[in-house]
């Protein structure tokens, strides 16, 4: 599904700002990979670079989705190929309602694939179903996108978008940060209900607790822009117990 080879990335237009220093990762169809690491390890950068955020510059390496190179594509084109990024800090957009925005997103995707746009009636039905499934307050989605939403409501709204857009590769960038246990469970249930042999996930997280609810197939430990260890779900438990110190020491960084 997704192949990352020797990926290097820096902050755009800033010298010596390399954050990702040669990432290699192979994600199979239907797999869930967790990427764990301490603050400043480059987890969020990796998630954003994969989605094509223009603030970063890829200086070396290759990323392919289903065999096709994606690094030259804009974020919207990557989305049309089935990619999705759930943001750590979703933007607040005054005057734009989630309904309206998601309809535009689906229309744009349909257009790029030469398919018919979904009718307003069918979309409304789908939207209402997903609102209920995600457990988001229906009055909330009538308001401006994320404006005045609590941290938990914003994350639920990201799950709503995930449900409506039905991507084949979903990247969750610290979607668990700022969530209470109930909200965490809802996010996890959203992800779990969407797990399928056709859909892959990359779950970026600092803590192990989200992984109590979403059992990953593979766990990668990212430190200082490199994956220093890859293992099974047990690796997450180990990090929970021992922290990142041994990995930081191994790459010569200060803990």
């Amino acid at each position: 599904m997704l192949e990352i080879k020797n990926l290097h990335a820096s902050v755009l237009d800033i010298e010596n700002s390399e954050i990702l220093k040669g990432i290699n990762l192979s994600l199979g169809k239907g797999e869930v990979h967790a990427i764990m690491g301490p603050n400043g390890s480059g987890k969020s950068t990796l998630a954003n670079v994969l989605m094509g955020r223009p603030d970063y510059e890829v200086t070396d390496g290759e990323v392919t989705l289903e065999g096709e190179s994606i690094l030259e594509l804009r974020a919207d084109q990557r989305a049309h190929l089935g990619m999705f990024l759930a943001f750590q800090y979703p933007a607040e957009i005054p005057g734009v309602r989630p309904w309206q925005f998601l309809k535009a997103a689906l229309d744009s995707k349909a257009e790029s694939r030469g398919e018919d746009k979904m009718s307003v009636r069918n979309f409304s039905k789908l939207f209402d179903e997903k609102v209920e499934a995600v457990g988001i307050n229906p009055t909330l989605v009538k308001r401006s996108l994320n404006e005045g939403f609590s941290g938990g409501e914003k994350k639920r709204n990201e799950m709503l978008q995930l449900e409506v857009l039905q991507p084949t590769l979903a990247i969750l960038d610290e979607t668990d940060s700022g969530l209470d246990v109930d909200a965490l469970r809802i996010v996890a249930e959203g992800v779990n209900s969407m797990r399928s042999p056709e859909r892959s996930f990359i779950v970026v997280t600092h803590y192990q607790r989200l992984l109590n609810y979403i059992t990953p197939d593979v766990v990668h430990i990212l430190v200082k822009g490199q994956i220093v260890k890859t293992g099974g779900p047990e690796l997450a438990l180990e990090v929970e117990k021992n922290g990142y110190k041994e990995y930081l020491d191994a790459v010569g960084a200060n803990a």
Binding site: G52, P54, D76, F84, L85, A91, G95, S108, L165
Partner: protein
């Protein structure tokens, strides 16, 4: 003639004034005197210039207007369908149509609503209806400045609306000011006089459109008298073609416990100035002034908004939003004056702008002049651009950059568009906005996104 002659551009209007005087021998003496006085003032002032010390016109370049020539005449025929196609319309509304400054009863759609006297200003003047003689040009007379002087010199017709005390109208009343379709450039001085009786309430839509492609000059003057405890919900739609000039003056006199709310939708003309002043002249009066302006090309849009708190315990609120693209220029000049007696006043001012290209200019200057000591006042202005993080968020969902920008611009306008409550009016301003956004974006650049 050159602009060096002083006062500026008076000669252009003098022949028209002389023939106008010659044709109106039968006018009542008070009116003739008023016109002559106003003409004398205009002849002394000339068109405003950006000369040093002329603070009110510092940011407004009227040279293109001063350089143009206009005919003062009544134009060609206009059909109801042309008006319906270019202005908001609902058959349920009482609609008054004023063509090239003249009230047109055939194009108007009046229902004989009880308690509402709506029709020609000229007729109201000649029949001495209500307080026309004492009210006309009393709020916007010749003393004030060149355009009210010019308008008053040519005051003749327009629309007159009076509400009997206690009349609460359900359906809106609209006044459409239209210039007819013609190759010739015309000047018109339409007027609207509104006298709302004690305890009355009205929703009033004031629409300015032109059917001509050529440059037209309109200097409309609107005067409203809000009787005790009356409510006026006013909307102003200003959308002439982009070679025209709109120098509009609106003056409102508010008595006790009155509520005046006005929302402007300003997208038209080459040079447009929407000058609104509310006088809160008795305790408990409140006014809310809102507006959305959108400019592109080389358009210039001025919002000259002022409120005077003359008596204690009044409230005012000014809140405007602007979207600028191309090489356009907008001015928000919001002023609140709190007089010495006006204790317990509350005033707020806000102007937010979304700039879509590097070539635009916004001059936003909210200002407070406070002579009382017990006052709550706040003001602020911002100019921002499309936020790249927000843009990326939308793009990551599959919306391309152009569409994402359109969503953000529409979102910025949304809160003002929601102010337009009558359905047909709301549909109209939404449609015009949706048509304008691609024009604005076509002239936008990478400001904020690189």
């Amino acid at each position: 003639m050159t602009l060096a002659t002083s006062p500026a551009a008076v000669d252009k209007f003098s022949a028209a004034y002389e023939s106008f005087v010659a044709e109106s021998v039968s006018a009542p003496k008070w009116l003739k005197d008023m016109r002559q006085q106003a003409w004398d003032t205009f002849a002394e002032l000339g068109l405003p210039t950006k000369r040093r010390g002329n603070e009110l016109w510092k940011y407004t370049n009227l040279r293109p207007l001063a350089a143009a020539d206009f005919e003062f005449s009544v134009g060609g025929s206009v059909t109801r369908n042309q008006i319906k196609a270019s202005a908001p319309w609902d058959d349920v509304w009482n609609t008054l149509v004023v063509v090239d400054g003249k009230f047109n009863s055939e194009l108007s759609n009046l229902h004989g609503t009880v308690g509402l006297n709506a029709g020609s200003l000229s007729e109201a003047i000649s029949s001495g209806t209500g307080d026309v003689e004492s009210q006309l040009a009393s709020l916007a007379g010749h003393e004030e400045y060149a355009f009210t002087a010019l308008s008053t010199a040519f005051v003749d017709d327009g629309a007159y609306i009076a509400l009997d005390a206690g009349t609460k109208l359900e359906a809106p009343v609209q006044v459409v000011f239209v210039t007819s379709d013609a190759a010739v450039s015309r000047v018109s001085y339409p007027r609207l006089l509104v006298d709302s009786g004690d305890g009355s309430s009205i929703v009033l839509i004031e629409t300015h459109v032109n059917l001509s492609e050529s440059a037209q000059f309109s200097a409309p003057v609107v005067e409203m008298f809000a009787g005790d405890s009356s409510t006026i919900r006013h909307y102003r739609v200003q959308m002439e073609n982009e070679s025209s000039f709109h120098l509009g003056t609106t003056r409102i006199h508010q008595l006790g416990d009155t509520n005046f709310t006005s929302t402007t939708f300003a997208v038209g003309a080459s040079i447009a100035r929407n000058d609104i002043h509310t006088l809160l002249d008795a305790p408990g009066a409140s006014c809310t002034l809102r507006g959305l302006y959108m400019t592109s090309g080389s358009q210039q849009q001025d919002q000259e908004i002022s409120t005077t708190h003359a008596k204690p315990g009044c409230q005012s609120d000014q809140f405007y939003k602007g979207i600028l693209s191309g090489k356009s220029h907008a001015v928000f000049s919001g002023k609140v004056i709190v007089m010495r007696d006006a204790q317990k006043s509350e005033a707020s001012q806000k102007d937010l702008n979304l700039l879509l290209s590097r070539g635009v200019e916004i001059d936003a200057k909210p200002s407070l002049e406070i002579y009382a000591d017990d006052v709550i006042a706040a003001h602020g202005a911002t100019a921002g651009h499309v936020d790249r993080d927000t843009l990326f968020y939308l793009q990551s969902r599959g919306v391309d950059e152009e569409a994402a920008k359109a969503i953000l611009v529409r979102g910025f306008a949304e809160e003002m568009l929601n102010e337009f409550k009558p359905q047909a009016l709301n549909d109209f301003v939404e449609r015009i906005t949706d048509e304008r956004i691609p024009v604005l974006l076509a002239e936008s650049d990478s400001l904020g996104t690189t």
